[in-house]
Symmetry: C2
Amino acid sequence: MLTIAGIGPGGKETMTEEVAAALAEADCIVGYTVYAELLRKLYPEKEYYTTPMTQETERCRWAVEQAERGRSVVLVCSGDSGVYGLAGLVCELTEGTAPLRILPGVTAALSGAAVLGAPLCHDFAVVSLSDRLTPWETITRRLLAAAAGDFVICLYNPASKGRPEHLRRACSLLLEEGHMERGRICGAVRNIGREGQEAQIMTLGQLADYPADMFTTVYIGSSTTRQIGAYMVTPRGYRISQESASGR
Amino acid sequence: MLTIAGIGPGGKETMTEEVAAALAEADCIVGYTVYAELLRKLYPEKEYYTTPMTQETERCRWAVEQAERGRSVVLVCSGDSGVYGLAGLVCELTEGTAPLRILPGVTAALSGAAVLGAPLCHDFAVVSLSDRLTPWETITRRLLAAAAGDFVICLYNPASKGRPEHLRRACSLLLEEGHMERGRICGAVRNIGREGQEAQIMTLGQLADYPADMFTTVYIGSSTTRQIGAYMVTPRGYRISQESASGR
């Protein structure tokens, strides 16, 4: 049986109980090197098969083959098994014929939002800035559409060593063509739920210069997003009478 | 201390360990009646404070007051604490001054996607069709923008007793103005992770007639979304050579 599991940000405390149980019962755990190393500390007795980034297809194929041999295999994804995860690739490789167990997990959009406060309390769009598998023109089109819809925008893969300028390019696009003001409230969280976690609330103008890396998740507020104390908040729209709010 | 916790779809197996621990340690659990009843089976010894829908502000205010008196209070939200959850309202009510612990959870977009396969493996937008707190014009604008950006669209609150026609109206809008074809691959999941779970993959034309209710989450595919066997999949874009795919 092949299980594809979203492990959340990385620690056991943010993993769901069904994912923890699947890992505890697995013969073999398959994953990207960085996340497999996190799991090795929790489940040291397991067999691991890891591949670096860009070798996702090989990783999935190996997991499918081992499961066909009757082994209990858990293919792990950071965050969720679906959101930019490998559940789709496994469905494609097996042409939908293999029995799969797909277990969701807390994706970075949610875990990062909880660190910042509540930026995703209203409609939002999730966009990856990685152009490894998606043309930059498609990414551009989606950013402008999300801005036109006044969505909160959550960015995955805002930058990496090979593409350090992507976040700046996205911010410039939104400022120039997306009709957003420089003071738009934004936020960024790095190393969510792991050692070295950092969070910052800033403006869109400042975000263009923010040194994001591949472990950073970025939030660009909608027109209603505000900073309230130390929190980034997109109100859902509940009515709060003035006296009751100021009474706290 | 006030904790705002996303409990996932409802069962203990899809709750994160930190949320389960917070509930086990709580003096008092506060929530919407339906979800509080699910928790009462798991934690029968706790004190519960529940309010029906439309009384979210009262519910949050009570939780804040109890926490100010030194009690350990967990305000629970189905799915995630942020996504259409109460984390934002609590930040507003306390004006960002109260110490809050915000714990994320598996929102319905993710848990429903895992049931259908992998519809959210590429960029997506999340839109609530409830016009209780948002004007229908804003919802319309967002649906059209998401269609223009070729996002997968995940719909929350697609219908309820008071607004049974919202999903049909949204589908008509997308067919007429959003330039989507009737054969666009869509999916719906009802009672995710609970008794009576049902999932269906269908076309956008069929979705207009789907009897959604307030416990249904709906997925409208992007132009690349496909049905593969029993799965709804939005490919990320990995290259798969033909012989290796057909070999499975």
